[in-house]
């Protein structure tokens, strides 16, 4: 079984490499990275029982001017799906793995549209470009790259061996506390957080419903690509409109997923999704 898994992973990585060599849509290099950080995104999906959490690993590519915040596996999936031949090959491999497995269950997580959120900070200059997917529809919006108004406190902690200072802000309906380090003097952070005099290593809201915690920082020089995956129709939308749609559609999604009988992390997330027990990260849509 282990051998099969290794083989499948090898094939997957091959496909991904192949996919990255193919035309994946309109993409251009907008910057090159100085640092690449991994953040663990944690969301409390049942704020009543406080027992259900959704986690995902997000990547933050920090460039000289821009930064890109995205989910790596979702990006791989999007790239494969951009090429019908590769996608067919990938689907066939999945099917083959399922057939070969003794209990018809894959013992690894297939690529999916797991976390489709992509945020390009300071791209275009002075703005922020956000891509997201609601069900299967791709949306895109830009907003001004307004930085949070932080107030720095005297508290300090150590994260990954870095001395971090505490800063607080209120942003779009939530109070946040962030921990940043002066030892890495880049004014960037996960999601839309930025504007502190050092890299933000951790940030969480006051109610502890959402948190972003750094898990690794590496030095690497790779291009930061702006990608609109081919074969998708990107609909331009207003930020508040998509937030309203998102909160509304989560309940529709629950029904659809229940009908399909699929158990995925998305459905797990949606299972407790209602307006009573949790809210979106940005609460100013109302």
């Amino acid at each position: 079984m282990k051998r099969m898994k290794a083989q499948l992973l090898f094939i997957c990585s091959f496909i991904v490499q192949l996919a990255s060599a193919q035309a994946i849509g309109s993409n251009n290099e907008i910057d090159s990275t100085i640092l690449i950080c991994e953040y663990i995104f944690k969301q409390n999906v049942d704020t009543i029982s406080n027992e259900q959490y959704h986690t995902a690993n997000f990547t933050l590519e920090i460039g000289h001017k821009c930064s890109k915040y995205y989910h790596k596996n979702t990006d791989k999936y999007q790239r494969i799906k951009s090429d019908p031949k590769l996608f067919a090959l990938y689907s066939a491999e999945l099917q083959q793995s399922l057939t070969k497995s003794s209990n018809n269950i894959l013992n690894f997580k297939p690529l999916s549209l797991e976390e489709p959120l992509v945020i390009y900070n300071n791209f275009p200059e002075g703005y922020r470009t956000i891509q997201d997917v609601l069900f299967t529809d791709h949306y895109i919006y830009t907003e001004e790259n307004t930085l949070q108004e932080w107030s720095i406190t005297n508290d300090t902690i150590s994260i990954l061996g870095y001395l971090c200072h505490k800063a607080k802000c209120n942003y779009r309906g939530r109070d946040y506390e962030a921990w940043f380090t002066l030892e890495i003097p880049v004014s960037k952070g996960p999601w839309k957080f930025a504007g502190l005099p050092g890299l933000i290593l951790k940030v969480q809201d006051a109610e502890n419903h959402y948190s972003f915690t750094v898990s690794s920082i590496i030095k690497s020089v790779i291009p930061i690509e702006y990608i609109e995956y081919s074969g998708r129709k990107y609909t331009k939308i207003d930020r508040k409109k998509i937030l309203k749609m998102e909160i509304k559609m989560r309940s529709i999604g629950l029904e659809q997923y229940t009908q399909m009988g699929t158990l995925s992390e998305s459905s797990q997330l949606s299972s407790g999704a209602n307006n009573q027990n949790y809210d979106l990260l940005e609460k100013d849509y109302r």
Partner: protein, 868 residues
Amino acid sequence: MKLKYIFTLLLLSLFNLSAFAQKTAKIYGKVMELKTPIESAIVLITSENEKDIISYTMTNKSGDFVFDNVDYTYAKKICVKMIGYVSQITHLKQGQENYIFYLDTQSIELKDVTIKATSIKASKDTLNYLTSVFAQKNDITISDVLKRMPGIEVSENGHIKYQGQEIKDFYVDGSNIMGSRYNMAINSIKHTDVGSVDVIENHQSIKMFEDLLHSNSVALNLKLKEKAKNKWVGILEAGIGGAPFSWELNANTMRFAEKFQSLNTFKSNNIGHNLSNSSVAPSLLFQEDEWSKPFVGIPAKYTTLDFMEGNKTLFNTSHLLSLNSLFKLWKNITITPQIELSYNRFKRESYQQQAFFYEDKTWEVVKSEYGKWGKWLITPSIRIEANTKKYYLNNTVTAIIDRNSQHIGDIGTHPNQQSASNHLASVKNVMDLMMRIGKRTFGIHSYTSFGNSPQTLCLGSKMSSINEQIKSSYIYSKNAIRQTFTLGRLTLGIEEGLTIAHHKLRSTLTGLATPHFNSNQENQNTYNMRTFFVDPTLSLDLSTFKFSISTPISYNYYDTTDKIDAIVIKKMKWRLGASLSAQWIMNKQWSISGNIFHRPISNTPYMLFNKPILSTYPFLQVGALQYNKESTNSLRATLKFKDIYYGLLGNMSYMYQRTKSDLLPIHNIENEYMIYGSIFYPHESCSKTLMGNVSYMISSIKGSITLKGLYTISRYQFMQNKALNATRVKNTQFSLHLFSTPIHLLQLNYFCSLSLLHYKQENTNKDAHQKFNQKFSMSISPFKNLSIEFIADHHYHKLSGSGNSKSICLLDLNFLWDISTQWKFKLATTNILNNKEFINTFYSPTSILNQRYELRPTTILFSLTTLF
């Protein structure tokens, strides 16, 4: 009393108010890297202990920052941080509002991982190499570091190529202080003073042409760190050693300030570093310089044996002083006086066995030679320059005083003693004055050069005594008007002018005894040339595609007079040339360029004499009063690739050249002399070359690898003892350069080159010559301040026909001790195996030369270096 009380209260409150007013203030400033503003730099106002952040902001696009209300009660320091740069902190001073910070790029140590600023950055046509990334522990000058930068090559005499193309302009912090003598600068500036190195492709050095004329030249700019500016910095190195007595002294100082810049060097040694070859880079020579030569030359100059590095074979005493300054007189005008003064003395003992192959016999010369050479070279120059968007002025006056002497004693086939001298005194003035009105430019170009070269040769042997005296002088002047007109993307440039040259030769040769030449040979020749030329050029610039076509037309008048034989030859001729060049920048990574031209070659008068001249024994040079009708057709295509993300740079070029000429080289043996010259015989020669190189930075070995390849086929003809010979030469060369710092304590450098030379001559068998050189150096640091450097230099060569192969391995060992950041101690042991001699073989289809020469013996040199 009450009034007094109220008055006191009022006064106190006023004092309080003023004190309060002084406690808060607006602070603003700028953050820059040299002259470039840094965006998004973090500016912090902190407490005295730097633990409390009072306020912070980020710089904008122009590098500016502002704090509106800074309370001096708590705010004590201002700090600037940016990833990839050294942080700077300074105390806040009440009353000072403006703070300007210049940041230096530098590696930043972070937890568990070393985060460095990007090693290579690219923007538009500029590549920016971060010096600290490519530097190794034992490097001192920037030349040591440049050699490791992917895409950059540095030759032994300090000339730089980028992607196979020689750089045309060299700047230190944006200043063209060194002009054509930049090789002195790169061997004098310490690498820790240089933040980064910029390579600027498609560089137009004349600012007024920047948006009008495309240039495919390459320039290199050394960006100095702020700490190296506005003060004297440099290197002082003194070494002394024994067996035999050895010394080395290097003193390099420089000061770069806004209004005054200076870079000065004094070098002196007797350990094999030749200081006479700091010559001008070939690409920086004007085409006109070809004319700034005397008629013929007695080769009284010392010629190095290029098979090995000079410090292995050269027995010398060398001193060099180079003074270079640049003054900014007012806004746009700079004046740059420079002088280089050198004295070199060389001696060599060698044994030579040279055989020339003829159809019916082999002519062999064997000699054991002891020679001494002396050379004085003084080259003062002064340049006045104004380079603005509206006008351009450059007037450079250069003088050359070059005095060479040699004394050689030969024992062998033709034992003799010879003394020779070859002196040159010349002055050159180059002036360009141009101005721009809208998109039109007008200007004049003037080049004037004159010189005088006396030469003597005295040769004594058992058979005869030969004396020769040559006096050669010349004057050359070219004056032209230049205009350009731009319409949209099209630019038409026209240059028209007049060229005048006058060369004069007087030579007497006594004591010669051959069947063809009697004992007294005399030349009295003059040569005059006048040319009127028009050179129109049409350029098209479509941002990614550049194209230009040029068709120079000239009317030439020549006359040459031989006063001894009363011969006057006059000739008038129209000449037409054409050239076409194009460049296509396909994307950020790929570009392709090519040019094709037909060029009639102007006659240079160096062979226009009638009677023989003995250049060196036993080589007798004969001229021909025959104008040469020569033209060259050439094609060159170059493909370049660069991907800075992966540190991958490469290029590949194909060149084809066919030359038609009326004069054919000849070699004839007559008695004890080898007579060479040329005769009238129209012929063609051609060559095809494919060359390429690729450099790749490999992060896993913390280093890079450079591979170079060259394949050339050339065909040429010559006449030897009245028999016409055609030779085909195939030359294949590969070289590899690798450097790596696999662990912090170990640094490795490896270089190897393989050369395969195949000759094929009509009616003879193929011959091949293989050469393989490799050099390996390894530096280990067992302690933080101590390094042990081991250098192995291996040479191998083999002749295929004879099966004769020779090889030698030379070893050096150095101990380096960093006493402090400023002081370094070095114990250098060269040639620890004490190899005494090496036999080198030079091969061609018509001759073979076996040369045995001495190697420098084992030498120990203690040296102390201070960096300031």
